[in-house]
């Protein structure tokens, strides 16, 4: 019915239903912060990022998909990104007309030394078009390979490579123009 409720999703990401799979709380403990941070990086709205994180784990709990061992995080991030994409599109009016919450850094309490260039890059990534942002977050932040990202986003590998290349150029442009370019 939609782009992220495909019944074959679990199958593509692999299933075995093995008994060695970590339970819900272990998965939450291991991956929820990553899901939350990627969602926040994508949306720039802490409340919505928390909603996405909840949605993802509610789905995990209620639908109990059978995940392939070692691929749990990919499944969680895929569901999170699909949800983010939907919210990003759905919130167009609010974001563009009313103005969305400013994307702000949320450093750990003991991190007193904030670097301006790091701030600038974080903001610039957030300002990238959504498709570029996804590619950058998965490749550079979460460390997935191009083939893994292609599988997660259900796109050809060439498209991912192209998006990464264009994203880097766009990122340089945004940073050089002081975050004003879009």
């Amino acid at each position: 019915m939609n782009e992220y409720s495909t019944p074959d999703e679990d199958a593509r990401l692999g299933k075995n239903g093995g008994s060695d799979m970590p339970n819900f709380e272990e998965l939450y403990e291991k991956y929820a912060t990553d899901v939350l941070r990627v969602s926040y990086f994508y949306l720039g709205d802490r409340q919505r990022a928390e909603d996405v994180c909840q949605d993802v784990f509610v789905r995990l709990m209620t639908n109990t998909p059978e995940l392939q061992e070692g691929r749990e995080k990919a499944w969680l991030l895929k569901v999170a990104l699909n949800r983010c994409r939907d919210l990003w599109r759905g919130a167009w009016v609010k974001r563009v007309v009313l103005g969305s919450p400013t994307f702000e850094m949320i450093p750990a309490p003991d991190d007193s030394e904030r670097r301006e260039d790091e701030d600038a890059m974080m903001v610039a990534i957030h300002e990238l078009p959504a498709t570029f942002r996804e590619a950058i977050l998965l490749y550079y932040y979460q460390g997935y390979g191009i083939s893994e990202i292609a599988e997660m986003l259900e796109l050809p590998e060439g498209t991912i490579s192209s998006r990464l290349s264009r994203a880097r150029k766009k990122l340089e442009q945004i940073i050089h123009e002081g975050g004003q370019a879009q």
């Binding site: 409720s5 949605d55 167009w92 991190d111 890059m121 550079y140």
Partner: protein, 318 residues
């Protein structure tokens, strides 16, 4: 972009204060439990009637025994109270029923859904509940709850389209069929008579609520659907109200403009956006809601229609 390779360190430093806490875990579990509970409401009711019946029976027996003791006589010999417990009425009685009036019971135009001249805030669409607005999804076509009218007469209903096969707080994650995050599993979903794909109705909390076709999760029109397939035909229109411009109350003018809209719109995108609103009053008393922005209207997809707006302004200025 040398520093991109350091993004994990940078992001973890800059977002280090953002943690998935145990509070969020507790909220997640609560939501999951609610979702699971709402998916099985009927089973709960089936299981609950037996204990309830047992308690009622015990209460009746206790009450009977108490009366026996206090009167000192067997209750069977006590006079039967003469007070009427049940009332009846002959067939054909003209006594009015207690059924409340609904918007569809009153003449068209008696109820104003909006005030002309107000903009973006004016919408008939119900607000989001959590992350999604209240909706019904039928095989990929999504319908969003309208806050008004709060209930319609069954006389407006067309065919039954099926029953809600899945209750899911996040319908986009549903498994297909008829999915809703508002209407309980097993409830019937109906078409609105004569309106094709624009509106459906279903029971929610005892009232027949109306849902309008909208874009959702990157899906708008399906296959070869046209704008008319997701709205209505011009002959169904009774009035139009474009926020900030004015209301066309003359039926002939409204239908002419609607025809212009249906004939002259070009599909732009699956999204739905806009800062103003266009309401389409139908001859059956219901109202359709569209968003308006940049010479385009949207509800189920965004459609460019500059000629319509030009004609509308002219019609209002007449």
């Amino acid at each position: 972009m040398k520093s991109l390779t350091n993004l994990p360190d940078i992001a973890n430093r800059q977002l280090g204060g953002l943690e998935a806490t145990s509070v969020l875990l507790a909220k997640t579990k609560l939501r999951a439990a609610e979702a699971q509970a709402r998916q099985k409401p009927k089973m709960g009711r089936r299981l609950a009637w037996q204990p309830a019946l047992a308690i009622c029976t015990a209460l009746v027996l206790c009450l009977g025994a108490t009366l026996w003791v206090t009167n000192g006589t067997a209750p069977i010999t006590s006079p039967i109270p003469t007070q009427n417990v049940l009332s009846s009425r002959s067939a054909g009685s003209t006594e009015p029923t207690a059924e409340p009036h609904r918007s569809s019971d009153v003449p068209v135009g008696s109820i104003s859904m909006s005030v002309g001249g107000q903009s973006s805030g004016q919408t008939l669409f119900a607000d989001a509940q959590g992350s999604s607005f209240p909706l019904i999804s039928i095989d990929g076509a999504t319908y969003r709850l309208l806050r008004s009218p709060s209930g319609i007469s069954t006389s407006l209903l067309g065919d039954e389209l099926g029953k809600v096969s899945e209750f899911n707080l996040e319908p986009a994650l549903g498994s297909g069929g008829i999915v809703s995050n508002l209407v309980s599993q097993g409830e019937s979903v109906y078409a609105i008579s004569g309106l094709g794909g624009a509106l459906v109705a279903a029971n929610s909390e005892g009232l027949l609520r109306v849902f309008q076709r909208v874009s959702y999760a990157g899906t708008a029109v399906i296959g070869n659907e046209t704008l008319g397939d997701t709205l209505c035909s011009a002959s169904d229109v009774a009035w139009l109200d474009l926020a900030g411009v004015g209301k066309i109350s003359n039926v002939e003018d409204a239908q002419h403009l609607m025809q212009l809209l249906l004939d002259g719109s070009d599909y732009m995108s699956t999204g739905a956006s806009g800062t103003d609103s266009l309401q389409i009053g139908l001859s059956n008393g219901l109202t359709l809601q569209l968003f308006v922005g940049d010479d385009a209207i949207s509800a189920c997809g965004t459609w460019s229609c500059p000629d319509f707006f030009e004609a509308y302004h002219e019609a209002v200025g007449k």
